[in-house]
């Protein structure tokens, strides 16, 4: 499944990374503790988090994530979006909660990351 298909199905707003939306999504994870995300992270995963500071871009880049989804319409600072654009990180936004987003993605067939 591609990021663009998720955007369409969940009516997500693209905040950054518009030109990379044909990226393939492999799995999903929902967490706000960055070290936990670094430990569980998988290449091609969707990451749902309420964190919006600069470090989410670094984490997404290092893990090679498919995209980040920010729930509850939380605003993301311009400088973070600029950095994401520069690094090729897709940041999406939704008014839904993390719980609802994860549920819908799961229903669409996105599998959880493997917990080692």
């Amino acid at each position: 499944m591609k990021v663009s298909q998720i955007i369409e199905a969940l009516s997500l707003k693209v905040l950054a990374g518009e030109s990379f939306l044909d990226r393939e999504v492999c799995s999903g994870y929902c967490c706000d503790l960055l070290s936990r995300v670094m430990a569980r992270g998988e290449k091609g995963m969707v990451w749902i988090t309420v964190q919006t500071h600069m470090n989410i871009v670094a984490v997404a880049t290092l893990i090679e994530m498919a995209c980040i989804i920010i729930p509850e319409g939380i605003e993301v600072e311009r400088k973070v979006l600029d950095k994401a654009e520069e690094e090729g990180v897709i940041i999406l936004s939704s008014d839904l909660t993390a719980f609802e987003l994860a549920g819908k993605l799961y229903q669409m067939g996105i599998v959880p990351v493997k917990v080692r």
Partner: protein
Amino acid sequence: MTGGYYSIEQVFHVKAGDFASAGEASSQIKKILKQLGIDSTLVRRVSIAAYEAEMNLVIHSVGGELKLKVTPQSIVVTAEDKGPGIPDIDLAMQEGYSTAPEIARELGFGAGMGLPNIKRCADRLNIQSKVGEGTLLEIYFDIKAR
């Protein structure tokens, strides 16, 4: 790997408490390793370990250096600081144990998984610390011949 001979050393300065540019050094390290044509799984392992080491310098130290050394046989990431040092290394290695300050926790750090993450990614780990003097963390990765 193409088997070509090279040896690279690069030093990155990491400022204490600088959360805004934190992650820059490890992102650079990742780019360098990719350019060298290192296997992508190994690049990910090194990048994750480097990121955790960089964050440890930002969160816990008075500032320090992150160093990357690449030879045809191995990759070594070194994090060195001038303090404050780790009183109990065994405790620091325990998953879930963290001494991160509130400001770091608010940003989603301080899960107590930094050093355990580094250990899991590395082939070998050497950590020396003295309270009041500083910490030296050496993270070793083997490059396996194909």
